[in-house]
């Protein structure tokens, strides 16, 4: 299961991010480390990007990135 499989409002716990090391590092430094709870807030009107919430703040990331963040 990945972030985009969540329903709006639902939370999940990050298991692994299979991403390019640069963006992965950046997301981790913003607090998206394994075990962190993420909430899927909503999708943008045109279907991409998506709004997620981690450690109390809102973040916009693209769908193709979210698709590679698997949850426990």
């Amino acid at each position: 299961m990945t972030i985009i499989d969540l329903k709006p409002g639902q939370c999940g716990e990050i298991y692994e991010m299979t991403l390019d090391s640069k963006i992965k590092h950046k997301l981790m430094e913003m607090g998206m480390t394994p075990g962190t709870s993420v909430q899927f807030v909503r999708t943008a009107p045109l279907g991409d990007p998506i709004n997620i919430k981690v450690r109390g703040f809102n973040l916009g990331i693209r769908r193709d990135v979210a698709m590679n963040i698997t949850l426990k």
Partner: protein, 671 residues
Amino acid sequence: MGHSYALTGNPNSGKTTIFNELTGSAQYVGNWSGVTVEKKEGFIKNSKINVVDLPGIYSMSSSSIDEVIALEYITEENPDGILNVVSASNLERNLYLTLQLMEMKVPVLMILNMMDELSRKNIKLDVDRLKEIFDIQIILTGQNDRKNLSRIKEIDLKGLKSNFARFSYFSKEIQDGIREIASHISLQTLTQYKADPQWLALKIMEGDNKIIEACCAKDAAIIEKAKAIRLIIEKSEGVEFSQLLAAQRYSYLGEIAGQVLIDADGNMDRESVSEKIDKIMTHRILAIPIFLGIMWTIYYITITGLGSKSIEVMEWLISDLFTGAVKALMVTMDVSTWLQSLVIDGVIGGVGAVLVFIPQIMILFFFISILEDSGYMARIAFVMDRIFKKFGLSGKSVIPMLVGSGCSVPGIMATRTLENERDRKLTILLTPFISCGAKMPVYLLFVSAFFAANSHWVVFSLYLLGIVTAMVSGVVLTKVRYKGVESDFILEMPPYRVPALKSVLLHMWDKGKDFLIRAGTIIFAASVIMWFAQSFDLSFQMVQDPSTSVLADFGRLVAPVFAPLGFGDWITSVAFITGFVAKEIVISTLSVLHGVSQGALGSSLTEFYTPLSAYSFMVFVLLASPCFAAISVMKRELGSWKETGFSILYQTGTAYLLSMAVYQIGSLFIK
């Protein structure tokens, strides 16, 4: 005394707000990440302490230009201390940077900002515990409560020491590695590169090329050793070293947050007001209509609502009151007629033509300032990303463009936050297509003369044309010139905040002042030059009819070039050329060369243009090369004349082709 401190913290944590409070400056504050893109210095009021406001950073690694500026300042300029601004309403992530600063073992004073937001969320913070953990002093502050900041003057940061257990949150292997490498760093390196050995060891292990290059490029042994340790750790953990560090730091921060944050209602994740607003603003169906509606309303109020009143008042002030008084004065003083003409037709005509529109420019900036300060900007970027992606850009390019709708200069500067070099260059080139405040007076003059019935629609159409041109250019240019990898899109969306009236008014006044200064300097000078050039012929004889002047000769030389766009007269050619200096000069030029007062300029224009050629005129002004100020910023940000030259040619070429298309195709249908 005579210390120098650096203000550092996460983007949007309130550094500039605090800098302004401390120094009494008026640097721009806005509610999105990446407002400050260059370092700004100032002295704390009534002291010799220098503070430097830096762009925000999430961590000690960086990718965009603004972040590099902040990082280099902290690691290379050796400030006497760091004022770490931490947003209390976003504690864990803000403390990530604090941890990294503590790892450097430099003097840190924490400024815990946004305490008001925390209490609004009904969360309590155990400040004593936080102090205890980091073993540092903490200054609490929030909106409307900045009195604690005065304590900074009383604390000598240079003398601060902390016994914070840095690195204790890393696994044993990493800690051992740090100690091992640190013990091998030569004394020479340490004296040359003033840094803490253990921090240096960690950086070498991480493989931070910049620091390795600066401190110990020649010491191959230590680099090898650090690399070996790193590889062993990476192998046993199966994770990249730097990611391992991040994960371990955050797990420690999670513990800290658990200890210091006490949620009064036991419901930390309840929906905030901001999230409720977002339900509407980023709603699937409503979001885009809302955005267009907001932009339309801004232009409607600026142009028709408040604007037309302000023009009437200004015209009365300048044409009737001021010009009348000056004329009467000169007549009583028996001033020669040519000097009268210089003052009335040249100076007052030229400068006045611009002054008339200054209230409207300020109204526009008032609204842009509200957009920037409310937090809506980031939402526009979020909503528009999909469209921008189609056109070869990222949603983050929206922010420079929106800032550019006030003025291209800060818009171009704002591209520093774009990490991707290709995106940045392209956005710099495209931002001037977005109509700026200085172009607005030109439209206002023309729409009131030619399209009085639906003036705001015409202006809005120009605004849209600018956006469409930027978008289509994005597609074309990514295909032919700016090839390269697509960018990532990671965008923080800050909570909505009620714009502080003081900072909105200050911003508006600041921009209005810029235009007033320009009116008093370059526009004044240009008007005087223009008056002389239209008053004399090649043999320096004063002419009766301006159309026999040097300027007219020159204008006629260029005029054929513009004939396909709908105007073959010398005045328009001169106006376009002076427009390269500053956009508002276009109307000063028209005013001086038509030789009529502000009120009459509109009707004088109707003799020269048809509504179609008037529209073509506005299209050219909208899209052609930006003004000198923007060109020089473009040159600085692009770093090369070649790129800058290409941009100017591309913009002017596009302007030419599109105005020609408007005029030629329009001619087929009209008349």
